[in-house]
Amino acid sequence: MADTEKAPGRARFRCLRCGSEFELPYTQGKVEERCCPRCESNSVRRLKEEKAKSG
């Protein structure tokens, strides 16, 4: 799968500590504990373009 594509039920996130981008399971409206697979930080933010798509 290309970097820009994502599986259904998943979204792309960016770590605000180490800056890495990755894909994680995501359900609209569900608050889940997330962590960066690289640095294990919880400062994980859903990418802006993802938000724009889902409204």
């Binding site: 605000l16 500590r17 608050v31 504990e33 294990e40 930080s41 919880n42 400062s43 933010r45 859903r46």
Partner: protein, 603 residues
Amino acid sequence: MADVGRHPNIELLTLAEVTGISGYVGNFTVKVHQRARFVDEKECTACGDCVAVCPQYRPDEFNSGLVQRRAIYQPFPQAIPAAYVLNMADCLGRNPIACGKCAQACEKHCINLDAEDRDLEFEVGTVVVATGMEPFDPLGMTEYGYGRHADVITAMEFERLASSGGPTGGEIVRFSDGRRPKSIAFIQCVGSRCEGRGLSYCGNICCMNTIKDALVIKDHWPDIDVKVFYIDLRAFGKGFEEMLKRSRRLGVKYIRGIPGEIEKATGNGALALHVENTETSKLETHEADLVVLATGVQPRAEARALQQLLSLQLHPEGFLLEAHPKLRPVDAPARGMYYAGCAEGPKDIKESVTQASAAAGRAVRLMSLGEITAEPYIVTVDPDRCKACGVCLRVCPYKAFEWEKGSPARPIEALCAGCGTCAAECRFDAITPHLFGDDQLLAQIEAALAERPQDKAVVFACNWCSYAAGDTAGVSRFQYPANQVLIRTMCSGRVSEKFILRAFELGAPVVLVSGCHFADCHYIDANRHTQQRVEKLWDRLESLGIRPERLQLEWISSAQGQRFQKTMAELEKLRAAVTAAEIADTRRILGEQKKPARKKTDG
């Protein structure tokens, strides 16, 4: 059960379901809908005359549908009260007219076909939730052929067959031909530990139940060949390993591997089980006359309504979440509610009895005091500031507010646990948590950043986990930078947006909000609100031109001293990367935000 029925202080309501519950510890009002029994339970002697004449047959639920019962029946032989019940849905019905044969046959005139359901309401001080579990339905796991092969049955069906009070009087027979099997295969973990297709967790009771069943078979019919197919055997607990060894001594064979397919064997009417024996790495085929599926256990579907009524939290596996897995394992997070048995998680009879005794003890201890001690951190609401928006009630994990549209919210002190989430979410500053009020926390922030703010990082740490993690790091001699200012709150949910913005306004280069991991939150789910708030604030900071990276969020448990150390070290790196110009810019932006908007004038 008979003791419960006879106890003068226990009122047993059968055929009843809770339809509503309100109030709080010591003052619950419970609404119950009780279906009509149609039989006078005080007069009925369970003589059985009514059953003999009833023309309606239905599958007997207690015997897993292996036999039939009548429309009027006793649910099971030891049922309390020991009276029959008429299931009107199974009966010929009252409309247009019931057959009435049962009523005619009853010499004591115990049957009243005109009985009505009733709604009850009563006050209670505490609530114990003991809604149990239900076995996993293996129909979807087609490789085992349950429902396709008559001689593939579940452990629950086997239980009824092996019971002396069961439909065969304790004789184990094959459903296909009624003869006693010469070989029986048990398959473990059917539906358990099977993420995606079944239940992700271990059923806890299945291994020992199978070993017990194997021993019963070997005790009664030593010539029956018994094989158990397993992933791994979990025989933990007092005396359990000895039971396993005893079963091996009696000739029970254990094969490590789960059959991938069950089909009819050719010629002899047996079933063929194809399995990879993971001890020998060889594909094997075993034959058995009867296959028993050790199905997993799952939360009762009907319990979901009660969970919602009581505002209880669920574990990801669907069982009810306890207040603390080690220190308060029988308490619900909300005060005055307790769990007993499998509603809280899969467990065996001994564990269920232990938990039920503990729950009863906890409830009695609480009620015998006649009063409760509240935490000093509870909140007060300023009725002049409250705009009755209802946000406090929506975000409160304990629903510790009385609120009606148009009237100021009123906190219920007995319910409030003092997380402060309501105060952080209140847009009108109407809520003040004792000891952690806005003034007190803002004073701490201002004092911390009074001198050389550019050299400091502000860390909001929850009392139970991340602040305690700092202690763990300290006692473990894990070094971390000394220029970080820890501000303790009871819960990360208390960290209001205004505290973070105030810290940035005063020149803090970075701010960290830290709390418990989601599963460890000491206030049910208050830290979910923390995360939502921080996510919104990242957006807002970005829209203001402030780098969101300067606001960090971390979940650190009290045992994670090293994680605390690592987080602080990383925070220091982030702090060092923030320039003086960036800090000055942030102060200017946030300062401008505070200025009142200039009125537009014509011309």
